[in-house]
């Protein structure tokens, strides 16, 4: 009998967690580089955001030894977890730029890619809404820009046409630009699916490993971890997002300045979903794309983001502020009426990697042969991840002499049975018949069963923190924000993995769910 929801492919890559206090299974614990074998890596990627994961996925199609290293205890836990969750068509990009090209290429990939990787995607389309006469005039400009980006399916709408499509549009609306193909996506599953397939195809993944420096050699370099381990690699790709500056300093990479540009969001209850039918976008200003109102693939309504420039290494770059939340709701209310009556579920913030030297800055042999710096992947990296990976691999072939021969065993698809399937698989009786724990609901708001939690824990990229579990299953993400399910989930995680309750963490060492008893409290 095939067990529902489980995927048991041969996993050719190795997954290790650097977990000093030993709070994950022995077999998953990173103790020394010996575990990775002695052969140097052909390519080592630093940073498992959506970009690093996409690159690993694409490289895993070839016969190469690839390492993906991430400081945090899951993939996609940096900027890649807190964004607007949209797949852009690139209609509003600056024509002729690399960004514009990558977005156009990616937009064409996504429908098929999402189906293969089982990433929930819905091409509901967008409407750029003008609410002043000045903005209405700008719609023509936006349309011309879209045409220049070869997005020729956009069209201008009159105020009446906008209202017909969006009955709850603000009464100020005086016109719109219809942008078909703008899509909403599960942003978490993008990083996870890429990394999962890459892992199955044989790339090695290290989580919780901070790269503190790079030791340069003739043909062989070493990544130096914060614990002093040396990881040999012929080529290194710096895909560290907001960490790219610090890492580039470690190998003498060229000059660039980055800083976090914070974006705050407000997520509304499912009851608010019916307020809109498209992704509603404001007319952008020179400084920002502005606050948009979008449904989410999970059936909520998302409003945001703000754009606030903060200094590099500001510890509060991904914190919310009451002022920011107020501005988000104010901004959203310019587009849709009735927002303020809707119940809020959560607020969050993400930090774009804003770069003075432009977006999508790529440097080959930066500082030393074999080093690739990628930075300034600011506001469209989720969309462009797949085409950017293609672009980087082409560049590495040309500039770094990377030789590619296809790996005939490699998969480019997650199987139909891949966990999770909650978004496309309504609870069916045969699911529960096959395994009774698929009928035991633990997360009541999002209706997630104990069986799905266990399937997630057993999936190839084994999540071992509560946040990692949450991004895979949507448990704790509903309206009660874990009120009912956090403790039962911790109990399941503990019984399934053997990690004791007091050692379970939200997102890695230090974030234990209960205060460690030994920690002497310092104010």
């Amino acid at each position: 009998m095939t067990q529902f929801g489980t995927w048991q492919p041969k996993i050719r890559g190795r997954l290790f967690y650097n977990w000093p206090c030993g709070t994950c299974e022995e077999a998953l614990r990173f103790i020394s580089p010996v575990q990775l074998g002695s052969k140097p890596y052909d390519v080592a990627i630093v940073g498992a955001g959506v970009v690093g994961c996409a690159l690993a996925y694409r490289l895993s199609m070839y016969d190469l030894r690839v390492l993906l290293v991430e400081r945090l205890h899951d993939v996609g836990e940096g900027t890649s977890k807190a964004n607007s969750a949209l797949i852009h068509t690139g209609y509003d990009a600056k024509p002729g730029t690399l960004e514009s090209e990558l977005l156009r290429e990616a937009a064409a990939y996504w429908p098929d890619l999402a189906a293969r990787l089982k990433i929930p995607l819905d091409p509901i389309g967008g409407i750029m809404m003008a609410v002043t006469d000045e903005q209405e005039r700008q719609l023509e400009v936006a349309k011309k820009n879209a045409y220049a980006n070869r997005a020729t399916d956009v069209s201008i709408l009159s105020a009446a046409e906008v209202r017909e499509r969006e009955p709850n549009a603000s009464s100020d609306v005086c016109g719109g630009l219809l942008v078909p193909r703008e899509s909403m996506i599960d942003p978490f599953m993008a990083s996870i699916a890429y990394a999962e397939v890459a892992l199955v195809n044989g790339i090695d993944l290290l989580l919780g490993v901070d790269i503190a420096g790079v030791e340069l050699g003739q043909a062989l370099h070493h990544l130096i971890t914060a614990d002093g381990h040396r990881l040999p690699a012929c080529r290194i790709v710096n895909a560290a997002g907001l960490g790219s500056r610090r890492l580039a300093d470690g190998y003498g990479g060229g000059a660039f300045d980055i800083n976090p540009r914070r974006g705050q969001f407000v997520l509304f209850d499912q009851s608010a979903r019916s307020l809109v039918r498209h992704i509603l976008l404001p007319v952008p200003t020179v400084n920002t794309k502005g606050v948009l109102v979008s449904p989410t693939i999970f059936g909520n309504l998302l409003v945001g983001p703000t754009a606030e420039d903060l200094p590099l290494d500001d510890p509060e770059a991904a914190h919310t502020t009451l002022e920011g939340i107020r501005r988000v709701i104010e901004g959203g209310s310019c587009l849709v009426s009735g927002l303020t009556e809707q119940p809020v579920v959560a607020t969050y913030a993400g930090a774009r990697c804003a770069c003075n030297q432009g977006s999508y800055v790529i440097r080959y042999n930066d500082g030393a042969p074999g080093l690739v710096t990628l930075t300034g992947v600011r506001s469209t990296g989720l969309t462009a991840s797949i085409s950017l990976a293609r672009h980087l691999i082409d560049g590495m072939q040309k500039e770094l002499g990377l030789e590619l021969s296809p790996d005939i065993e490699a998969l480019d698809t997650r199987p139909e049975s891949a966990w999770p399937g909650w978004w496309r698989r309504p609870f069916a009786n045969d699911t529960v018949d096959a395994r009774v724990d698929h009928g035991c609901v633990v997360c009541f708001c999002e209706v997630i069963s104990e069986g799905e939690i266990r399937d997630a824990l057993d999936s190839p990229l084994k999540p071992r923190t509560m946040d990692a579990l949450k991004r895979r299953t949507r448990s704790m993400m509903g309206r009660c924000q874990g009120f009912d399910c956090q403790v039962p989930l911790a109990e399941i995680m503990s019984s399934h993995t053997g990690i004791t309750i007091s050692q379970l963490t939200k997102n890695g060492p230090g974030s234990e769910l209960v205060a460690p008893s030994q920690r002497a409290f310092t104010a």
């Binding site: 509060e316 809707q342 309750i501 008893s517």
Partner: protein
Amino acid sequence: MSNAQHFKVAIIGGGPAGIGVAVGLAKRGVGPVVLIERRTEIGGTPMGYRKKPGGVPTFVEWTRGRVVFGEELAGRLAKRLALTDTAIRLSTQVTKIDPAEKRLTLLGQEGVCDITADAVVLTAGAREQTPAEKGWLAGARTSRVGFTRHLTGWLDGHGLLPARKPVVVGSDLIAYSAAAKMRDAGSDEPVMIDQRRGPSAGLFERFFFRRWTRPDWPGGVTAVEIKGDRYFVGIKSNDGKEWPGDGVIICGELVPNTELALLGGLAVELPSRQLQLARGQALSQPGWFAAGNVLGGFHGAQWCYFNGRRVARTVSHFL
């Protein structure tokens, strides 16, 4: 699914209120009645407050003039339920309702099924307001920011104290009971943060809890941010004051569990999520009623039980 099982009355939620409805209906000879509870045991919220020697009892049992442990009170109510003919479906969640057809979709270990009834009573209880819902809490999303329900889960379920230097957000009875439970388990005296000038718990309640806790009360805090990176290190108010701690418990200010009604199309006020009630706690569609904490506001467990009994009378009149 046309062969949906039919009941005279379906009760959604097996807390004190749902038990009250079931017992009341049984007394009036109404049947068959089904009670659906998504957790593994009957008793609702009070069941999480386990009886422990030397612990802190936090549930007032007015009829006995005593304060007891939630588990004791719920246990007594569950015994009364067991004496009735009510069909009980445990570990089964109502995932959808069709108000016009009085049809419920259930999900449990037997899979998915629909049932119908002549009358339905919503006794789904309440949960605690989340930080985002409060609207005056922002900042980091760290670990060790939990609810009272987590506190009872860790403490009564696993003997683990989630914070040694706790910050309590909220000041109602639930907040005081949380503070008392933590003090009793060996934490420092908590700081209690609220927007109100004075605590929301009454004088009598505060007096009762003085035996265990006298929380620091800065009072009248208008807006605060949660500080920390991976873990909570404290709370900072917009006037610059800081309260360090190693965990925060978000207490009380209950939000009724009305999502079934809201998404099913019964009249619910937003953003408060309050049910629109007609006479006799009837809802906007004929044959639908509500009882207990799902009505909104804070009600003690025994009040909820008697409220359920009273609604049973209205329901039997309706039938």
